[in-house]
Symmetry: C2
Subunit: 194 residues, 2 copies
DNA sequence: TTTACTGTACCGACTGGACGGTAAACATTT
DNA sequence: AAATGTTTACCGTCCAGTCGGTACAGTAAA
């Protein structure tokens, strides 16, 4: 007889606090960038002390790694959802990848967050290793989603290029161009079944 | 009567020393990454004192900005050279952009250097502004190189995606895949004249 | 005389992290 | 059900080290 909803003003569970910390740290990355993400500031933003934060994450690398895993899970959940909606036609997975990518990166806060996360990979080797493995897995799905593998790769790289361009605001497409790109990408998927 | 080759053991010009510093700083970025690029270390690697380095660059931001300009110039010079070789056929500029990009990023040291530079943009706003402007200029050339502008943009994003994938080693293509991609990119340029 | 440095001493701000302590929640025994 | 110990979650303080940047006196070639 101790439902979570009854825990008002009570102690939080570790999982709840960790999520608070993820959100706090992410907000700092969005607002101020990687170099402002210190243990003290993350703790303050999450509403606890630095010692309290270090109870949940033994050091900064562990915190960074966990943030990467947290946001990766969010992306992969959305990817699975969109993938399920696309069904099992050839290229369905690649279409879902394109939709999930565009959806995420055209949100300004998410773009800003990811720009910081990508920058963090340069300093945090373990986070970089995680992301490399993710891309290798995605590329494996790309090659085996029912399209000509070369074409599938080309389309994936186009999506990644769009992501890259939106994330850093490197001469990104305007709205009409983006619409054209997305529909052309879908068309290319349909035209290149294996 | 004072050829550069006679300046052995003599004083360097400011331009020569600045180039020494660029090369030293770049080597640190390649070998150890952004967080290891301190003023003291850059000076040491360049074979001068910290005071000497600060004589040429008043602060770290100025140094970082200059490093960006230095490498940008190298890339743009190569781009112009390849562009001249391609001639004036429709899509020539985009072909040169593709060739220059692939050529650079498939060199491991250059890829490592650029990964650090891209990470640095997150912390150094002025460097980021410079790069954004470069991409805007390139996109302008892409849109006006004699191809259908939408297709030209798509092809540019594919090239950028390939760059991104090679730079971070995110499931990059193998040699055969890369060959196919490059020839397909060239083919797409030829097929989409305006 | 100007340019291009060397070398050293220093400061002020900041950072990751170690550490000792504490109170609430939970488990176990009585 | 009361008493007792144990674990979990967290606080507050302190510290050793690093980094960018300043200041300044001196030097040697052009």
């Amino acid at each position: 007889m101790r439902a979570k909803s009854e825990n008002i003003g009570q102690r939080r569970t570790a999982a709840e606090t960790r999520e608070l910390i993820f959100k706090a740290a992410s907000q700092i990355l969005i607002d101020e960038g990687l170099s402002s993400l210190t243990l003290a500031k993350a703790a303050e933003q999450a509403g606890l002390s630095k010692g309290g934060l270090l109870y949940h994450f033994p050091n900064k690398v562990a915190l960074i790694d966990a943030i990467f895993e947290y946001h990766n899970e969010i992306f992969e959940r959305r990817l699975e959802q969109l993938s399920a909606e696309e069904g099992h036609a050839p290229g369905a997975w690649l279409k879902a990848y394109a939709r999930a990518s565009v959806e995420q990166i055209t949100d300004a806060d998410t773009a800003s967050l990811y720009a910081s996360l990508f920058a963090a990979e340069e300093e945090y080797a373990s986070a970089h290793a995680l992301m490399r493995q993710k891309y290798i897995n995605w590329q494996d799905k790309v090659e085996n989603c029912g399209l000509d593998p070369n074409w599938a790769l080309l389309i994936r790289l186009t999506v990644d290029g769009l992501w890259f361009s939106e994330m850093h605001q490197y001469g990104p497409p305007d709205l009409n161009q983006r619409k054209w790109l997305i529909s052309k990408i879908m068309e290319l998927v349909d035209q290149n079944h294996q």
